[in-house]
Amino acid sequence: MDLNKRYTAQSWPDHPETATLEGKNKFVGFWLLLAAETVTFASLFATYLALKDRGPEGSEFTAAGLFELPLVFAMTMILLTSSLTSVYAMHHMKNHNFKAMQAWLGITVLLGLTFLGLEIYEFNHYVHLGFGYTTSAFSSAFFTLVGTHGAHVLFGLSWFIALMIRNSKRGLNMYNAPKFYLAALYWHFIDVVWVFIFTVVYLMGVIG
């Protein structure tokens, strides 16, 4: 693959992420990885549901008493919006508009960082209430499920930032287009998992 080959919006293929064999392999391999990730989160969700509200004798912490929706709703909206902005970024990637792609990715990263900040605030709040990682089976399951998602957010953000800095000077080519595409795909996956967390942990939690 020739990295120095210059593309224009006209010569740029419609699907640059799968235009090379390497890109195709990455595309299929990444979808398979997401399948494995799905099973991973399914295991975490199942465990959470089994251990929800369980604690030592006399433990006062329950999902209904602990969770408050306004903050979590704001986090959900922010993460959903960041998924949308990453779609815009990929739209510009396919049109070979590097600057616009970088800009939208930048907005995506800012939204992701906001989400992460709010999640840290939320965790901190629970710990101050006495609901720490080791408090009960419920607390362990909750922090592990939501924290694993948070770790994925952190990884996704690092991935975006590394790609943006690495390629800031040289623009798009057939070598890095699949990388941007996969990072965006990962970001969507993280978003979908959060939708399930919002539903299963918070909404169903508040209902009781």
């Binding site: 392999n25 299929v28 398979l32 494995a36 465990t47 030592p56």
Partner: protein
């Protein structure tokens, strides 16, 4: 890379293997390390049989016995059987589909090194305060009560090697989906490629639950979480579910590639097309599919209730149907064939009754009420050894003989191979057949000794003698390897003479770029078709000779895996008051791993090209002989 075939010094060879991304060399690495762990596991098995040789024996203490049975099971499943099968998958599958290499050569290397460091970490427990002692299933109620760090070596070691296996699985799936040569449709793929495909899909979906279970175990024991701590609201049954949601598909991850190897052998040495190829393919897929719906048959006695037990009992019995289809297809492949009883074929023929015996006892245990009688007795031990040894290990031994010339360019001795076979085969049945009756007589599994008045002396003695036979068989095999390697008689493309699939159309061992020209596949058993039509070139090719793109070698996979190895020590000692440096080690280890990941991501790695002229040059020297004359 001006010259393709250079003599190298010893150091250069070592460096070559540490940095290789070539699937054929990675196969050799898997074979050597898997073989090493097989010997370690075998040694542990011998110690078990020595201890149980007579009543009231004190060869091993009770505690040490627990450690040895745990490590025997864990080593044999995770560190011997799986990597040995991955060795054949790596060596053969890309050749069978006419691919240049696997889809992700770098990840292939990373997968191996993760497995390797995970295995080393697990076995270091012997020298660092004691091995895990809660059985290979590591049930949480036992594991949480275990003193010392044995269990932590188990959970952290298997987590690391599990990542490696998951990566290998994804890699094989993408290779088979994207890299098949022109004309190699799904329904023309050799059976071994098919079973690799389905086994990889099982790896993809079965290993994450295990990883999560192991994470919970690590968090509970080392970071104060409460997943399995009942007095804090936890539930130990969660471990059993997660473990068996992995554990049952794991049986098929092992046995499907074994079926694949035997399918190849039956066709080659009966000189016949596989009977019922389509049925075999769909049986493979069905077994993979049902494999995920039966895990709770390991938990009949837990108390899930009659409805759950009935459902899982039925699902388990259904699996016997596709397995039966396979058995009959193999029998009818042999039927009327022109059979040659080479060592691989002898193993394959011996496999059928041995594995069927394991399958029949499996259906017996599928009946939940009967399982209440058999549970945790030696009957179970006999059953799963019939499946794993009678199926998987026989396939590994057969596959070693079959593919040895392809991997190393020289044949193993048939005569010594036969000696190995008879010792191993007789020893195997001697060891495990009698254990069915020990189980029915009431001997529980995992006990370190028994009384002279219990009437189990003679049967245990017979079983131990059988184990000795198996050990002799394995030793003869080692002698075989050494002798034939020293003699080093070189062989051609198709040393068995009746090879049917693409791997036999290429020199043994193949040049590092595999086929100089991608072959064109014209049907099932494509090489056989060309031979029957008298094609002098060997194959029909799908492209003219041109430059070949190759990936660069890299040391990063080894460093990345080493980082995980270091981090695991940090996690292991995290809670110990006497080791305040543990947190620093954890951070440094993860730093190495994520740092090398970053380097890999940021540094462009475009590979290199072998030019057409170099390929022609190499062909003249005899480096490749396919179609370039």
């Amino acid at each position: 890379m001006s010259s393709l075939a250079q003599k190298k010094g010893f150091g250069a060879v070592i460096w070559d293997y540490l940095t290789t991304v070539d699937h054929k060399k990675i196969a050799i690495l898997y074979l050597i390390s898997g073989g090493f762990f097989f010997l370690v596991g075998g040694l542990e098995a011998m110690m078990i049989r020595i201890q149980l040789m007579k009543a009231g024996n004190d060869f091993l203490s009770a505690g040490l016995y627990n450690e040895i049975i745990t490590m025997h099971g864990t080593t044999m499943i995770f560190l011997a059987a799986m990597p040995l099968l991955l060795a054949f998958m790596n060596a053969v599958m890309p050749l069978q589909i006419g691919a240049r290499d696997v889809a992700f050569p770098f990840l292939n290397s990373l997968g191996f090194w993760l497995f390797f460091f995970g295995g080393i970490f697990l076995n270091l427990s012997w020298f660092m305060g004691g091995a895990p002692d809660a059985g290979w299933t590591n049930y949480a109620s036992l594991a949480l009560a275990s003193e010392g760090h044995g269990i932590d070596f188990y959970s952290l070691g298997l987590t690391i090697s599990g990542f490696g296996t998951l990566i290998a699985g994804i890699n094989f799936l993408v290779t088979i989906i994207n890299m098949r040569a022109p004309g190699m449709t799904y329904m023309r793929m050799p059976l071994f490629t098919w079973t690799t495909f389905v086994a990889s899909a099982l790896i993809l979906l079965a290993f994450p639950p295990l990883t999560i279970g192991l994470f919970f175990m690590v968090f509970d024991r080392l970071f104060g979480a409460n997943f399995f701590v009942v007095e804090m609201g936890g539930n130990t049954i969660i471990w059993e579910h997660l473990f068996w949601i992995f554990g049952h598909p794991e049986v098929y991850i092992l046995v499907l590639p074994a079926f694949g190897i035997f399918s190849e052998i039956f066709a080659i040495f009966s000189r016949k097309r596989l009977f019922g190829y389509t049925a075999l393919v769909f049986a493979t897929i069905l077994i993979g599919f049902y494999g995920f719906m039966v895990w709770a048959h390991h938990m009949f006695t837990v108390g899930l209730g009659p409805t759950a037990n009935a459902v899982f009992a039925l699902a388990t019995m259904i699996i016997a149907v596709p397995t039966g289809i396979k058995i009959f297809s193999w029998l009818l492949t042999i039927w009327g064939g022109s059979i040659s009883f080479t060592v691989p074929m002898v193993y394959a023929v011996a496999f059928i009754p041995s594995f069927v015996a394991g399958g029949v006892t499996g259906v017996m245990q599928a009946m939940a009420p009967l399982d209440y009688q058999l549970h945790d007795s030696y009957f179970i031990v006999a059953h799963f050894h019939y499946v794993i040894v009678g199926g998987v290990v026989l396939a590994i031994l057969a596959g070693t003989h079959l593919y040895w010339p392809k991997m190393f360019g020289t044949m193993l001795s048939e005569k010594l191979g036969m000696i190995t076979f008879w010792f191993f085969f007789i020893g195997f049945h001697l060891t495990f057949f009698i254990q069915h009756f020990l189980g029915l007589l009431g001997m529980p599994r995992r006990v370190y000794t028994f009384g002279a008045d219990q009437g189990w002396d003679l049967f245990n003695m017979i079983s131990s003698v059988g184990a000795l036979f198996m050990a002799i068989g394995v030793l003869v095999m080692l002698v075989n390897v050494v002798l034939t390697t020293v003699k080093n008689v070189r062989v051609g493309n198709d040393p068995w003479g009746d090879g049917r699939t693409l791997e036999w159309a290429i020199p043994s061992p193949p040049p590092f770029y595999n086929f100089a020209q991608t072959p064109l596949v014209r049907g099932l058993d494509t090489y056989w078709i060309e031979k029957m039509e008298g094609n002098k070139e060997g194959m029909v090719y799908a492209e003219p000779l041109g430059d070949v793109h190759m990936p660069n070698g890299s040391i990063i996979p080894l460093i990345m895996s080493f980082g995980m190895f270091v981090a695991a020590f940090g996690a292991l000692y995290f809670l110990d008051d006497s080791k305040p440096w543990a947190l620093a080690v954890l951070i440094i280890g993860l730093g190495i791993t994520f740092g090398s990941m970053l380097v890999r991501s940021l540094k462009d790695d475009l590979g290199f090209h072998i030019t057409k002229e170099e390929l022609i040059e190499d062909a003249k020297r005899g480096g490749n002989t396919d179609g370039l004359k």
